[in-house]
Symmetry: C2
Subunit: 399 residues, 2 copies
């Protein structure tokens, strides 16, 4: 092994992105991830195309590159342009009661896609996965799935176009048949290569990838897509889920379906800085949708990693390092006003604004977002959850 190889291996060790682990010794190198996973960069021409086709401004997450990678998005848009609709598929592993802001990102974006393209959406709650990986009981996983469904519904999805399901409730029938069809096409060696399972992992883990794969196929939802086996599927998700869908795309044509298209986001960083996803075990690493205004303010002031200089004098002279500054990063996710964001970046980067001022603005923005979510979630009744999760046709899903 020569020096270059050694260096490359070292770098690979430093950056781990899988559905169960995102870690990096420095900032995640997303360019490297695109190369490694073999997906495509979502460039400006695609953003422009989405704007043109939907007749509305692209979502903040799209125009600011939060969703930065894709697979076959062009094909989906080609078909859409010719009048061929598609459906959206996203999901969540219900491992905790309270969602943090990072959890909201794919749902906020999916809500925009649903509204902009006027298409149906299926949302998978992988309570079986969390039961197996997190050693939760079946009952607790199911309870968390329902609790999380309330937060998801609070994002504003259209009940006439949206089917939310938990695996423990829904696996069976056509869905199970597709699981078997997928499982037949994937060797154990293959899943070891994709997911890194070991012989001491339980077989539940080995059995799970087909469960996350098959919502990509319309026939898994006969109450929605009966007779529409060639309906295309677009999956908005964080890029750590890419391994599941690489596997799915590999299998799809062999069992008679389109490969699902993907639109993939970077990770929402921890308050402490951009070295991976937030840690569920450290409540101070994230803003939760259940946090109070006071808690939000405290967390931001105390934990949000600042790119500002050590003294006011130095800061006025050198300005903030925006590359590592978490308040600016968070604002770029959630401050909708492009002009104000540019103003803050310019002033803060030049030393005209201090960290405290930026943090104060961020606290305002996040408090507003979180309080809006809390009001919406409080209005979600059990009956509404039942309505979203009912196995039913959606006659107006393409209107």
């Amino acid at each position: 092994m020569d020096k270059n190889e050694e260096k490359q291996r070292e770098e690979e060790r430093e950056q781990v992105v899988s559905p169960w682990e995102v870690s990096s010794s420095g900032k995640i190198d997303y360019d490297k991830l695109i190369d490694k996973f073999g997906c495509q960069r979502l460039d400006q021409s695609l953003v422009d195309r989405v704007q043109r086709l939907t007749g509305r401004p692209p979502h903040v997450f799209l125009r600011r590159g939060v969703f930065f990678a894709h697979r076959d998005l062009n094909d989906i848009l080609d078909a859409y342009e010719k009048g061929e609709k598609f459906y959206l598929y996203t999901g969540r592993g219900p491992s905790s009661e309270a969602l943090h802001l990072g959890h909201l990102v794919p749902f906020m974006f999916t809500k925009y896609l649903q509204d902009a393209f006027k298409v149906p959406l299926v949302i998978q709650l992988t309570d079986d996965e969390k039961c197996m990986w997190k050693n939760l009981s079946v009952e607790e996983s199911q309870r968390l799935a329902r609790e999380n469904a309330k937060d998801i519904i609070a994002c504003g999805f259209d009940v006439t176009k949206t089917f939310i399901f938990s695996d423990f409730d829904y696996v069976g029938g056509a869905f199970y048949k597709n699981m078997v069809k997928v499982a037949k096409c994937v060797t154990y060696n293959k899943v070891v290569g994709i997911f890194g399972f070991t012989g001491e992992d339980h077989i539940g883990k080995v059995s799970f990838p087909p469960v996350q794969a098959v919502p990509s196929f319309p026939s898994s939802f006969p109450h929605l897509f009966s007779g529409k086996d060639h309906l295309r599927c677009l999956i908005p998700c964080a890029i750590d889920q890419d391994p599941y869908f690489r596997m799915t795309r590999d299998v799809a044509p062999r069992i008679g379906y389109h490969k699902p298209a993907l639109i993939e986001s970077s990770f929402f960083p921890a308050l402490q800085g951009e070295t991976g996803k937030m840690s569920a075990s450290d409540p101070n690493s994230a803003i939760y949708v259940t946090d109070s205004a006071k808690a939000i303010k405290n967390k931001i002031n105390k934990y949000a990693f600042s790119g500002g200089q050590e003294s006011v004098e130095l800061h006025r002279k050198l300005g903030a390092n925006l590359e590592v500054d978490i308040p600016v990063k968070y604002l770029s996710f959630f401050l909708e006003d492009d002009a104000e964001l540019e103003h803050i970046k310019k002033e803060y980067g030049a030393g005209g604004m201090l960290t405290g001022e930026v943090k104060q603005r961020l606290a305002q923005v996040l408090t507003e977002l979180v309080e809006r979510h809390q009001v919406a979630r409080a209005a979600v009744t059990d009956e509404m959850v039942d309505a979203f999760m009912a196995v039913r046709p959606l006659p107006n899903m393409f209107d």
Copy 2:
């Protein structure tokens, strides 16, 4: 490796018994199998106990040692004696249209157990397994499952005590939850040790053992056994299925259930002789339930391996070798009259009866059995199949 070790390995290579392969260079050594699998021999005192508890003569398959091994049968009988009922679970992998006599053995015996103990029965048709192992389409596996269900129903099961299900129809809900619970408790290394899977096997195979495991747990059938989580389960099956239930018994107490008890049969031999199970790919190795009287007679005369001597003179002098004689072996399965069987064995073994005479009697016995089955099967309507396979309570299942 010394000579003894070499010899032992050689012997182990010669006898392979797994759910997918039964082969042996000579007769299967069932004593060795009992030792290897770690089950118990079903001795005369247990047969007597079954007779005493059920108040009826033990089935031919029991009193002649076709069912020769067990696990925890004593526990089931202890509980039964105290008034605690149990349920029966057996199954079939629907890989072919026509069943042969060997396929009928567990069902004929299960029917006897159901009648004698007056207990409910669940019958699993593993269409998912056959779809994965035999590379059948989902649709073809399901069609075969329904066709096989007709043959099973023709064995005379009581519809008020019997639930037949196909995995493709029934997997889901409580059944799937138990699959996940089992899968969590079994490592990949463990299933490799039990079933011999390799890295090039597809993950459908790795995922399947929990599917065959969970009918052992009453909570997999909430429409039958709701609130009866501690109901015991007795599984009549051929001994090649033992690996599935070793795994199941290992897991059961860890997820709060009784270990299922087992009553296990030897294999019904091929016409060509006792070196394993019959080959589905060679129609002349077995009598099928669809065979005509003429076909039965021809197959027996042409293919049934005889222990008789080469010439009539030699035969009269030495008698038949009953140890290897297939007609006598088949009669010991299906000729109910103990006295007549003893008479034939004595006369044939002493040279008083010729192979032709024994074969003629066997043809009579099997023709009667097969024709009775054909009449019964012709009377099985689609409505009856639907009735047996309906997910429904069985209010009188213990009467």
